[in-house]
Subunit: 404 residues, 2 copies
């Protein structure tokens, strides 16, 4: 497998675009994005588990219930959530786009992100759709990635090339997500495209299985958004034999999907609101998978540890504390902890108790941009990884006055 350029336009048959239509006041910030497949694509999606769900999620769920979609439209600047007419507006977004594209409104995936509880005006979207369609191109990925950003500081796109049954296939993704991130069964907004031929059923199975180990293991601030959604469109234009069962081709597909999703997870966590560092917590030798996941996630969610990482302070007691309250059944006296970065590795705790270490070397390691927190439970053979970021002044600043 090889990383390539092109993001969501890398796969054969996909084009994209992004424009400023006027939902946001800042004219330099794109706020409406489109992804289009030349032919109808198998579609799969997962959604937030938050009981308060954005109207677009409900509409999308209905639209792709037949397993297929052709286009994705997504606005930023307004989440279209907790609005009395939210469903109506989301349906209008689909219908207005479908009419101009000459497709069925039921083949449109619709998404929104931004502030909750403010009515979304359809006018700017209606006025922006013609330009959005006019700008569709194979080079449009960056614009589309930009159009879905909110407090993100970097565009998040990735693509890979791989082989299935002798055919060259491609898969790419874009994501947005920086705050209100603590996905559960789905996450922030992620759009993945591929030219692999795969049945809707196997596509949904692949996605649901993958997110448990990827997006559901990311946390920026413990707040599960109302609008989280991951969608995959697979249009079959690579020409491989359609994947209909859990065979070797499906495994190759899963590997490609996991490469895309892990890459996006790391980008989302590293670009967490206000973050200066990516935290990757690797738990090994747990007695079962659930224990490994619970421990890894509890550690990346600890506000105290996140603040310590911001200060490059090797305060490993907070790692032990977060393991202890995680709810996982672990033997505290067997736990080893080490901090790691490209500057090296420093063990700080063995058998649940502190060991002597150089604070200077620890500081040097923790001043890097990507920090690994290695936890060995010495209690079995299961592993898991979770991703998070540090807690900084800027997180507070960004969220202290997000709406103005």
């Amino acid at each position: 497998m090889e990383f390539i350029e092109g993001g969501i336009c890398a796969a054969t048959g996909f084009t994209a675009s992004g424009v400023h239509c006027g939902i946001r006041k800042n004219r330099d910030k794109k706020d409406l994005s489109l992804i289009l497949s030349e032919v109808k694509a198998a579609a799969a999606a997962t959604y937030t588990t938050n009981l308060v769900k954005g109207a677009p999620l409900k509409v999308t769920k209905d639209h792709i219930s037949d397993g297929y979609a052709t286009a994705v439209i997504c606005n930023s600047g307004n989440a279209n959530t907790c609005n009395a007419n939210g469903i109506e507006i989301a349906e209008q977004m689909s219908t207005l786009l479908a009419e101009k594209l000459g497709i069925d409104a039921k083949d449109v995936v619709v998404a929104s992100t931004g502030v909750i509880g403010q009515p979304l005006d359809i006018e700017p979207i209606k006025n922006g759709i013609p330009e959005l369609i006019a700008k569709l191109s194979k080079d449009g990925c960056a614009d589309a990635a930009e159009g879905i950003m909110t407090t993100d500081t970097v565009k998040k796109e990735v693509a890979v090339e791989f082989e299935i049954g002798g055919k060259t296939c491609k898969m790419g993704g874009i994501a947005k997500g920086s705050g209100m991130i603590h996905p559960n069964m789905a996450t922030m907004l992620v759009f993945i495209t591929t030219d692999v031929a795969i049945s809707p059923k196997m596509l949904q199975q692949a996605l649901q299985s993958d997110i448990k180990e990827t997006f559901n293991m990311v946390s920026v601030d413990g707040d599960t958004s109302t609008n989280d959604m991951v969608t995959v469109l697979a249009n079959g234009m690579a020409g491989n034999k359609t994947i209909e069962t859990d065979n070797d081709d499906f495994k190759a597909f899963m590997t490609a999907l996991n490469t895309i999703t892990v890459h996006l997870c790391r980008m989302i966590a590293g670009d967490g609101e206000g973050a200066t560092k990516l935290l990757e917590c690797k738990v090994v030798n747990a007695k079962d998978k659930e224990t490994a996941k619970t421990v890894a996630k509890s550690v990346v969610c600890s506000s105290l540890l996140k603040a310590a990482m911001f200060g490059a302070d090797a305060n490993w007691g907070r790692v032990l504390c977060a393991i202890g309250y995680s709810g996982a059944d672990v033997d505290v006296d067997k736990i080893d902890v080490a901090f790691k970065s490209q500057k090296g590795t420093i063990p700080v705790c063995e058998n649940g108790a502190g060991i002597e270490f150089s604070e200077e070397i620890a500081k040097e390691i923790l001043l890097e941009k990507e920090i690994e927190i290695d936890i060995n439970l010495n209690d079995g053979e299961e592993n898991s990884t979770a991703w998070g970021c540090d807690l900084t002044y800027d997180y507070v600043k960004i969220n202290g006055d997000y709406r103005t």
Copy 2:
């Protein structure tokens, strides 16, 4: 019931003291506290549910297993947790104190708070005990309250006077707790004294019942400490008929206890690390108690809402979001939300959707030091309250480099 002066020394037969013994480098900061009852007192305690437990908790649990205690010793600056010789040190603290006081070491409650995973040297404690005993007095409450403080910015003490069976009784408490606060079945360090005559069994029952609605409903940062503990000593010197059953006297005792604990909860939350505001989330008309509690706690734990409150931003969508991911089974379309302070009340959401409101008035209300978040689930008759604080730059600053 009447609030009175005197804190933990208010009740007949209790004296206290606090000194600087040298665990902390700063000579102006007291780091060792003592509470003594003239006669053996009924004792009850609840402890953290964190699997990583401070050594002092294990020793205290053993010591008060017979239901009685005479003295409490507590140091700050070092949690005596995750140390290979922790139990030994906690036992030494008890023994050294008991010898000088001429009591049984098994009648000593021992507690520690501070950094995790650094060996606790017994020498300063040993050297400090004579001065600690020499300074015991009815005026020693403030010193004792100071000796247990870590990042707290204010001393937390309270006392009340009430009547049981015609006898005047008193009860007082001190607490410490500012960060790593998200108690579960127990909390931070709280010491309560009373001269009420009550059996150890009824005392434990009163405490366990009370904390579910008080300390367990406080969260500063979602991190459940390894050293949380609440203890009550009741020495019977008020001369009331000993409370042995769930009678009217027990109810009067529970009311007094709840007055003390709610007061301390508010002080702890309001003095959360870096906090500028106390948040009080009142959930009413839930279909059951558990739903009310789950919703209230989820809201005060939301990093996003906490940051919004810091910015005095009436971002009520974050309240809905936190209710939605709380895990409670609520009907989103029935929820009303209002913000309240001494400047007034402003409804912001009705039936799960936003309503028009004046941002200026909302700002004025939210700029106050004590904010109430009122949530009406319109789905039953159960209520609950949770306490928290805002998330500020200073929380990050304090925890970015706590150890240095």
